[in-house]
Symmetry: C2
């Protein structure tokens, strides 16, 4: 197949490199800044540099841009996409874009299948992209009414480039779960490192500091868009967390060892039950 | 030197194995349950099984028990320790035990140097102890008035068995920093996994879920003791976290992208400034 990757940042670049490393598909790289596309070509991450017009050659188009930018790109260039081919995205939120993505697909005659590759790093850009970024990761598909065959094609491709799990769900369930599994840890990490103690942690810290603070090295522009596009589920998770933190805080403040120990034991059992 | 390790759980067992792997010192293992000491002997983690009476042979005694259990043990067995030798602990809190540890040292004539090896796992017990647990980790010493020579001996030993950093500080600074670097992430992890979403995370999660939830697999008995023995600094850090979480929550709720992005950017800059 010919696969077009639009947006050669960490995710798009990793798609290119993974496709070139693990498959025989032809990779067309499309990027606003030509220098990055040239670098991708020079390093063998893509087979050729494309323009929006080249989308007519692609069997699958993967948009690796900020959520709203995906919509803008398709409004402008959807007409170049060949009818009946598959278009997917890589956005971390789904309800806020899937309905419009679907309308645009109907308008231009291609097939939209939403997807979210659950992988990333604390750094951005093509230079940190990695052929093995998706190894063992989860690939979430929100079919949004797409034919089963198109969903199957995308799932097969995901497995070919290293994804360990393919999860098929609705935009609603995706967004609710992502609020907990991904967005909440990012909010938490940022709140955590804002403590005045943080800059002095060296020599006093180990794995638990490292792990909870890791994703505070955040792309503020991207994540503020993701948080606000998924406000309701994220607000719910923040309220739930606040409720549980308050219970622990109250037990500590009241020097109530029994309640405190019981709450910690509850946390322990959740992890045990998950086999983690 | 002859080194006695009292308490052969994950930390004590790791001390034994690290001493046997990386030094030529003789290791005496003392444990309440004889079967564990026997296993340590059989697997070559110790040179001989000791009793409290054997402490007279040791040049350094390392107590690897719960904080209050260290005090109980010394009250009962401090008289067996040879005068002028070094006794240290491995407890994760210092203000709550160091003054009494020092009094007991003065009473029995040995030298107390507080210490805290900043390493661990989510599992407990001798079976998960590891000769390389301390590799690159931080070893915190609270001298509490001990002679510089004794502090130096302990610091040298720590480096011999793999610790990467030796930090010398007061019990007060130790406890304040540990509240942030270690205790707060443990409270957070437990509060986090108590969300009703947690049991369904599979297929929707990646590194950020894994990292923030990791230490929720907690030893509830040990950590409730550690939290309550360090209540004031931990309460302060919890209040600080609540303050920062509330600011982020308010910005998300108000759909205020500018404030939200500025807060995330602040977090990002803290990590950047630390080179993390």
């Amino acid at each position: 197949m010919k696969i077009a990757i639009v947006g050669l940042g960490i995710i798009g670049g990793s798609y290119c490199k993974a496709l070139k490393s693990h498959t025989k598909h032809t990779v067309i790289g499309i990027n606003r800044t030509l220098a990055t596309a040239q670098k991708a070509l020079d390093t063998g991450a893509i087979d050729l540099i494309g323009t929006p017009e080249s989308l007519g050659d692609a069997d699958i188009t993967i948009l690796c841009m900020y959520p709203q930018a995906c919509l803008d790109f398709l409004r402008e260039n959807g007409r170049y996409i060949r009818k009946g081919t598959i278009v997917t995205d890589a956005a971390g939120i789904k309800r806020a874009i899937c309905p419009q993505m679907k309308s645009l697909a109907e308008e231009f005659g291609y097939i939209f299948v939403g997807s979210h590759p659950m992988a990333g790093k604390e750094k951005n850009g093509f230079d940190v992209s990695d052929a093995d970024l998706f190894m063992g990761a989860s690939f979430i598909i929100t079919p949004c009414g797409a034919p089963q065959e198109a969903v199957g094609t995308l799932a097969k491709l995901a497995r070919e480039i290293g994804f360990g799990t393919v999860k098929i769900t609705t935009p609603e369930e995706h967004d609710r779960m992502i609020a907990f599994t991904s967005q909440l840890p990012h909010v938490l990490a940022c709140a955590y490192v804002l403590s005045p103690s943080c800059p002095n942690h060296n020599g006093f810290s180990a794995g638990s500091y490292r792990d909870v603070s890791r994703v505070a090295n955040i792309n503020a522009k991207l994540w503020s868009e993701l948080f606000l596009e998924n406000r309701e589920p994220l607000i719910e998770e923040l309220q739930e967390l606040n409720h549980n933190l308050t219970a622990l805080f109250d037990a500590i403040k009241a020097n109530d060892k029994e309640t405190l120990s019981a709450l910690l034991e509850k946390g322990h059992r959740v992890k045990q039950a998950l086999g983690e």
